[in-house]
Amino acid sequence: MSNVDRVAAPARPLLAPPHWRIADLSESSRWAYYLLVPSLLLVAAVAVYPVASGVWLSFERYNLLRSPVPTFIGLGQYADLWTDSTFWTSVRNTAVWVTVGAASQFLLGLVTALALNRPGLRGVGALRIGLLLPWLMPSVVAGHMWSLLLDSRIGVVNDVLVRTGVLHTYVAWFAQAETAMGAVLVVDLWRSFPFFTLLLVAGLQGIPEELYEAAEVDGANAWYRFWRITLPLLTPVIVAAVILRVIGLVNAPDLMIILTHGGPGLATHVLSLLAFNDAYTGFDFGAAAAVGTVMLVLLMVFTSLYVRVSGVTRD
């Protein structure tokens, strides 16, 4: 895809110079590898090793408070999870959280990207920056903003909805089992739809204008052009963006920690929060690692299925 003609890694010179200085190193035949060493070391030390030992941890009983010396127990923790109703509720909640979250964020992102990309529209520059702002917001600040907006006594959203007659009384959005998940989903929609907007605008700009002109000459209407040109050519970007977003939704318990603590009851209890609570409040690292491993497996299965079904690898 890139315009760069990559050269083969530099050939070994006949008389290898002594490798003392970086400048000399750069003349060696292994220069391409030397350059990679720092990042590989770092990633190996702080990503590969942790994940490998994290998975290993899931086979051990390791509780900082009760059994501070790790002991191997095989699949014991997975058996515990299998019979744990909190775990299954969290699985169901995670399914809702990820599906509704990714779908709503993608749709709003797509609609705004199509609007932003419309040729000849004036004054969109300022609108575009405004649209991207929520994506820069820290989860803590986003959480506080929305818990103020949706507050059950002083929330402006309640005020507006009551004034306009949509509601009769103020609603405690985050404290009722029926509305809590929806409310957190709205917060994440707000924070994450710009991610889709950003990537989809870039994808749209990569579609050659001539295709649309040709279709217009053939009398294709806007609807047809969207389904037959825009969507198919946008698919690789959509797939990449959805995968990245699903990973984010599965892995980050931030908003639940800040807004609901998984409640009321277990209404917003997701897997990432279960794992976090096991580790942070229970100091039960073994159990947390088991939940984390389950999440990793689910993500890997999802990604490979999704890539296969969407057919992006067929070309």
Binding site: V46, P50, P134, P138, V140, M145, L148, L149, L198, N251
Partner: protein, 280 residues
């Protein structure tokens, strides 16, 4: 032909309505937070909601700034952010340059591997990092937290920097080489100066992510002397009465640097993100 112009105008109008509605949705919470931060607590907790602050003041900001620990939190966040940017850029620039310029066995797999790292659940990374940092004596230190952040941010910066390096013609380095530059010299004297906007954008992305990060900071720090501001801000939330004035003021202070930096490198940042994500 009049009908075609009409359809065009219709779709333009639809596009504007969509954009203005989405803009309002995106910006209103931030605006409301700003307005709230300018009200006194008595004006925030009222029976009749005050839309615009009747007696605007910077009282909340002053109180917050004077509060013990608040400036320390900002200092901690700044130190951790700078350390993270330094680590990510120094290993990212070299790695990305190699992946951009040279072909070697397993190059494609390596690129994919850097992408897959994003898939690892934070908790799974967090536990062994927690244990390792304690063993190394880096638990609850600035550098320990910065190293942990580099886990997630190095792969992203490699992808982004590679995209920028790809757009610089290799012929320029060849020319420098003919003039007697070593390969390392050509990177420092030719490639890096040309890639400056891209490097800056990557630095800002890494900085924003480190500045905003909450989960690792919550888990890997305990003492006041190390705690970063997202954790501090969350711990300000008490059990019953929320200090809305202080919370909103703290929120606004903490997003000002983000918005400023973003505005500075906006174009290159957006381009870099899409270079990394769109091209496969």
């Amino acid at each position: 032909m009049g009908s075609r112009a009409q359809t065009r105008r219709f779709y333009d109008a639809v596009a504007y309505v969509v954009l203005i509605a989405a803009f309002f949705f995106a910006v209103f919470p931030i605006l409301w937070t700003l307005l709230t931060s300018l009200k006194s607590n008595a004006d925030i907790v009222t029976t009749e909601i005050q839309y615009l602050p009747l007696r605007p003041s910077f009282e909340n900001y002053a109180t917050l700034w004077a509060q013990a620990g608040f400036t320390a939190m900002f200092f901690n966040s700044t130190v951790v952010t700078i350390l993270t940017v330094l680590v990510c850029l120094s290993v990212g620039v070299t790695g990305a340059y190699s992946l951009s310029r040279y072909s070697f066995p397993a190059r494609g797999q390596l690129l994919l591997f850097y992408l897959l790292i994003r898939m690892f659940p934070a908790v799974l990374l967090l536990l062994p990092i927690f244990i390792a940092l304690r063993v190394l004596g880096l638990y609850d230190t600035h550098i320990g937290l910065a190293l942990a952040y580099s886990t997630l941010l190095t792969p992203v910066s490699i992808w982004m920097l590679k995209g920028f390096f790809d757009t610089i013609p290799p012929e320029l380095e060849d020319a420098a080489r003919i003039d007697g530059c070593t390969r390392a010299g050509a990177i420092v004297r030719v490639v890096l100066p040309l890639a400056r906007p891209g490097v800056a954008a990557t630095a800002v992305l890494v900085a924003i992510s480190a500045w905003n990060e909450f989960l690792f900071a919550l888990m890997l720090t305990t003492s006041q002397g190390i705690r970063t501001w997202p954790v501090g801000l969350q711990l300000m939330v008490g059990e019953y009465q929320l200090p809305w004035g202080l919370l909103t003021a703290g929120g606004i202070i903490s997003i000002v640097p983000i918005v400023l930096f973003f505005a500075l490198v906006q174009r290159a940042l957006v381009r870099g993100l899409t270079l990394g994500a769109v091209k496969g």
